[in-house]
């Protein structure tokens, strides 16, 4: 292979690689975080009631809005995300909570409410009789970085 041809080939590979990398969707997107946070919150809320031996009721989530606090350009990428979740339980008063989610680059996070009383609240598990952290105050979550929830808009 001649030198100019080799150079052209290498340049072509570099351009193609740059195009592929630039055109890819971020693993962590607002769409994925909001969807997973809302569904996991709902499951963990029900889990909390079940572990306390109370009738299991799922919260009716009316709105979830999450933003990346470390990325000012768009809502993508790992870091510290704040999530506002609005819900109502069994026709009760509307609830509005702000949570923090520490998201890693692999699509998992640790989420906890900003209300420290709720965050560190412990309940007694009726099954194991152990004191456990209330899942309605903090939980872990993960999401599929290959799904089609690719929205990263800040709006």
């Amino acid at each position: 292979m001649t030198r100019p041809l080799r150079k052209a080939l290498l340049a072509g590979i570099a351009v193609a690689l740059a195009a592929v990398l630039a055109g890819c969707t971020a693993d962590t997107t607002r769409g994925r975080v909001e969807h997973d946070f809302a569904s996991t919150f709902s499951n963990q809320y029900a889990q909390s009631l079940q572990r306390q031996g109370k009738p299991v009721v799922r919260p009716r989530i009316t709105a979830t809005e999450c933003h990346n606090g470390t990325n000012l350009k768009d809502d993508s990428g790992p870091g510290s995300w704040s999530c506002e979740i609005k819900y109502r339980v069994d026709g009760g008063k509307p609830q509005d909570e702000v949570w923090l989610a520490l998201i890693d680059a692999l699509g998992c996070y640790q989420a906890f409410t900003t209300d420290d009383k709720k965050r560190y609240h412990e309940i007694t598990d009726v099954y194991s009789h152990k004191r456990i952290l209330d899942p309605a105050g903090s939980f872990d979550g993960c999401y599929d970085v290959y799904d089609n929830r690719t929205s990263i808009s800040k709006k």
Binding site: L21, T40, N43, C108, Y127, K130, G141, C142, Y146
Partner: protein, 271 residues
């Protein structure tokens, strides 16, 4: 007995006789018990680690929390310690010539050594997984596990998911072992055979946790090492595994092929 089986048996015996390998296996057997023992004797939980919050709730959180740490740097280290000098030690002791002039061919020597190194790497991973699961169940209890989707998994289902999660890191761990053997063949250095895969693993891990190009992260072994997380979600998702395992297989095949070609072409006349 075939040439391959003879080499495999001898290499396995040699590995088992090595103090370093015995120490690694013993360390992996004991560490999960120390880890959960320390956790149970402190008030705080490692909440920043996936499954750390459940360490005092269910025994099945122990192997998962340990898998989070192990997949970051322990497994590449294990693979490198076991496989990193299986070829280069022959160079250093000048025994390669002796082996190859005996009644076994180069192919049998290569594949016998590779198979023995892989067997012991798998044994090490199974040891730490089994020990961590046992340590969790014995010290914390056989209680249900809450997955990362917020669903309660009964002990039998949790045990299956723990086993499946550990099974997914076998291929990338073997890929690190293949890289270690390739480096040990190419450089004829045991030190580099052990250090290069570990440094490579750390670099991959560093990149994995950077907020950099995600596409690059997906083709690193560190990403495949963490793909098990989707198994324990509800609903579970397998896309990271489906994409990560072929990546690990590619590393394994390429590194083994390079090692094989280099070993076949090696001039051992000088001893």
């Amino acid at each position: 007995m075939s040439e391959f089986a003879a080499v495999y048996r001898v290499e396995s015996r040699k590995l088992l006789a090595q103090t370093r390998v015995r120490w690694v296996l013993g360390f992996l057997l004991v560490v999960p018990w120390i880890y959960i023992g320390l956790i149970l004797h402190q008030d705080r939980l490692p909440l920043e680690t996936l499954y750390g919050r459940y360490l005092k709730d269910t025994g099945y959180a122990t192997p998962l929390a340990i898998l989070v740490y192990a997949s970051q740097w322990v497994l590449p280290l294990i693979a490198a310690l076991i496989a990193g000098d299986i070829f280069s030690s022959e160079d250093q002791q000048g025994t390669l010539k002796t082996i190859l002039t005996r009644s076994v061919g180069r192919n049998a020597v290569f594949w016998g050594k590779v198979a023995a190194a892989f067997t012991f790497t798998l044994l090490a991973v199974v040891t730490v997984a089994a020990s961590a699961t046992l340590a969790g169940i014995v010290t914390v209890g056989n209680d249900p596990l809450v997955d990362v989707g917020g669903t309660l998994r009964q002990p039998s289902a949790a045990a299956g998911l723990v086993a499946a999660s550990w099974a997914t890191v076998l291929l990338p761990t073997l890929a690190f072992g293949a890289i270690a053997m390739m480096v040990s063949i190419l450089t004829r250095s045991s030190v580099l055979g052990v250090i290069v895969p570990v440094v490579l693993g750390l670099c991959m891990q560093l990149y994995t946790f950077l907020n950099a190009w995600d596409t690059v992260r997906h083709v690193l072994l560190g990403y495949t090492m963490s793909a098990w997380r989707g198994l324990l979600d509800s609903p579970s998702y397998l896309a990271p595994l489906a994409r990560g395992l072929p990546v690990a297989a590619a590393y394994l095949v390429v590194a083994t092929a390079i090692g094989f070609v280099a070993f076949r072409r090696r001039d051992v006349a000088g001893g």
